[in-house]
Amino acid sequence: MPEKTKSLVEMMDELFERMERSINEILRKGFMKPSFDLRHCCLEPLVEISETADELIVVYDLPFIKDKNDIEIKATPRSLEIDAKFKKPIKLEKWGTVQKETEFKHYHHLIRKLPVEVIPDKAISRFKQGLLEIKLPKIKPYTIEIE
């Protein structure tokens, strides 16, 4: 079957997708990326990802979050997103000139591509002393028997 010719719109979409991936890769490495978003009044939390044989463990540092009910966690087999709302907006007295321009209302963090596939509906989490720990069980590979 002859290959379908791509429309200009499809080619532009692909180009933008590639550009977005490249930008995200640069941002993921921390280059020129601030840890806040003034437009969305949002802070990026510190996050640490580790692995055991069975689990992917993601821990977020969420100072000023007091109540687990203020945290929303969304997961798919390949992604993890958290949003944690402050009870009252945060504005530190001795903060940088740029950050002082706004009152921050929440933390937000999105991991678009987890290092391994996980089972989101089997995940467990706990929140203690401002630290949110999420344990995501890894998808186990099929065992193939030799006939």
Binding site: S35, L43, E48, P63, F64, W95, Q129, G130, E133
Partner: protein, 251 residues
Amino acid sequence: MSSIDVKINVGEIKTEKPYVLIGLPDVGLIGVISAAQLIKSLDMKPIGSIDSDQLPPIAVIHDTVPMGPLRVYAGGNVILVVSEIPLPPALIRSFSKEVVKWAKSLNPAAILSLAGIPVPNRMDLDQPGIYTVTSEPAKNMLAKLEAMQVQKLEEGFMAGPYASILNYCIAEVVPNITFLVQSHMNYPDPGAAAILLEAIAKFLNVTVDIEPLLEQAEEIRLRMRDTMKRTRDTMQQVDKAQEYEIPAFYG
């Protein structure tokens, strides 16, 4: 091996047998958090700075006053070397060598390193413990440390700037005690820093107010996110995760 120029710009110090404290960005930012609180609590004054061509071109501004990121403070019989930025890995050896050489010229009572040791279960640890590593010339202080009920680190690895300072103290026969408080590796840990400062205050026989650290713990954690992120990157480069491992020799 080529050496990198490190310049310590400090005038004459007349304090006899000072304690030279070192607070650098590392595990849990223990050194930086502790140093900031010591400066406030002991009313220490800036007496100089440390420079190198290998440092990024950075100036820090505090209360409208610009300053370099690596500074030296003094108060009573305590001299404090502090950095607000993680040391570039290529600079660690030269920095440590020059700081130890300079500290030795002061005929110090000891160099005390304010450090953390990472523990994976820190989240479940209400009262982190303190370990110490002591260079040979500081052995006369062991009884004092034992009375304080801090434990000796019996087996393990140290990696990064404090390891380098310890190594140069051994080579230069300078008394060094590295205080290692159990802490988070990748999050600022003011709670652990407060426990370390209690021990340091007891050791130096000075009063250090640790309440602000506990009261402002959340603000400190929030404020230091960027420093922690940059420190995490440099810790990866010096293979800091090796501190979870045990050395090969046995018997």
